[in-house]
Subunit: 236 residues, 2 copies
DNA sequence: AACTCAAACTTGTACGTACAAGTAAAAATA
DNA sequence: TATTTTTACTTGTACGTACAAGTTTGAGTT
């Protein structure tokens, strides 16, 4: 039998446990010492495993206390509407304009759709994000139906698409590519966002890659940024 | 005398050497073994130092070969115009509309200007980025004049503001905060970008923090995204 | 009851050793 | 000369040990 490096054993055990919710956000992992004896490795090896989990944003270490499961690095360099999620006290809600269903690959996807994706069926869903009941962002998502069995019938975990992928299918986002444009709102977008036709809207095209090589997610976002700009932060 | 951890000695020596250009991009650092004997530390310590430099994006390791100085992580989660720098074969140039000079703190800065900055004098400069001689992005920058002695007389290194900060003042960007809006182009912006008034333009407000606690940089960018969308990438 | 302090935990740094695995150039072979 | 093999270098993994430094808890003291 061929095994890779030992530290991957520890790392993957912890990573999968976190992804499956066996360790929840805020929980402390077993101490380094305990992991050592559980896997019969030295602390060097255990610490290497933990280091990688820190690098990937799963945990943080607190000297004297332990290793705590972190809210997963949501950013990924992604843009988020200022006021979504982090904003406390704001009334944010999400409306499904189109529930997940088998649909067609549309022209409006900016990034070129891969051939293997085009050959497969396509899951589509469309959501409207509102702040204080005012529509702020329209989100359209396309993804191949090959892997996600029964996805159209599933309820979203915490209203979150990514949480659903993570917890129900053990799929996580590993990368993203974005293009951002300022455009005139066409009739449809203007109507949905309750703005005038030809108002400037922020158009964000996103391509997500995941740990499942076959699963690429295509998203097109349209934002009314007059009241809620889109933003991100990065600190070393 | 009080020293911190030993690995910081090695790390900082290498980091400063890289920042000062003693090791250039593509160069290989001294081998771990050599660093060990030079600093009288064990490989554990040296590797810890190198690990941190990897994390901060300064170097990459190649098994069997060595540690090579990398092109510094430009991204920082930042948006870049698609076609700038990375795009080969494209004709990109930069025009100073306003050379670095002592100016005033303007109202148009979106992020609130810190009090200590407002009390100081302000360096301002304004550049127009063109692709194929067509104006694509207008960039306005403000920063307090306290630290950067003689900045207004300096020539930019490689036409790059950040390279100049790094090589001439040993200042590096440690974080950023951005807000993005789609707006109507006002008269002035429209004229500079050679577009019609009230065309949609992408307005990006950036606040950079640096390793010099006193130095914050405020930028306002205006992009015509019809031909060149703005974008970023992230991969784990 | 309130406080102090020691003990028992946690992670952080650092030592030293050994061998595996990848790379490149020199040496041996055909 | 051209090819193969060896050798000497690089980084990667893993062992074991020791003590420093931060946190929590509970025993002991006031």
């Amino acid at each position: 039998m061929k095994f890779g490096p030992k530290y991957l054993l520890v790392k993957n055990f912890l990573k999968e446990s976190i992804q499956q919710g066996k360790f929840k956000v805020g929980d402390f992992l077993p101490s380094e010492h305990e992991l050592c004896s559980r896997f019969s490795v030295t602390r060097t090896t255990t610490r290497k495993a933990l280091d990688e989990l820190i690098k990937e944003g799963y945990i943080e270490k607190l000297q004297g206390k332990g290793s705590r499961v972190k809210e997963r690095r949501k950013s990924l360099g992604l843009l988020t509407v200022k006021g979504f999620s982090e904003a406390v006290g704001k009334n944010v809600n999400t409306i499904f304009l189109t529930k997940p269903q088998i649909g067609e690959w549309k022209e409006e996807i900016i990034f070129p759709v891969k051939k293997e994706d085009k050959d497969a069926q396509c899951i589509f869903f469309e959501r409207l994000r509102c702040v204080n009941s005012l529509p702020v962002m329209l989100e359209r998502n396309w993804l191949p139906a090959t892997i996600l069995q029964g996805f159209t019938e599933k309820q979203f975990v915490d209203e979150s698409f990514f949480k659903t992928l993570s917890q129900e299918y053990l799929i996580e986002i590993t990368g993203s590519k974005q293009e951002i444009r300022a455009e005139y709102a066409d009739d449809k977008i203007a109507e949905i966002l309750s703005i005038e036709r030809n108002s400037p809207v922020l158009h964000i095209s996103v391509l997500f890659s995941t740990n499942q090589k076959k699963l690429t997610i295509y998203s097109e976002l349209f934002c009314n940024t007059t009241d809620f700009p889109v933003g991100n932060q990065y600190f070393m």
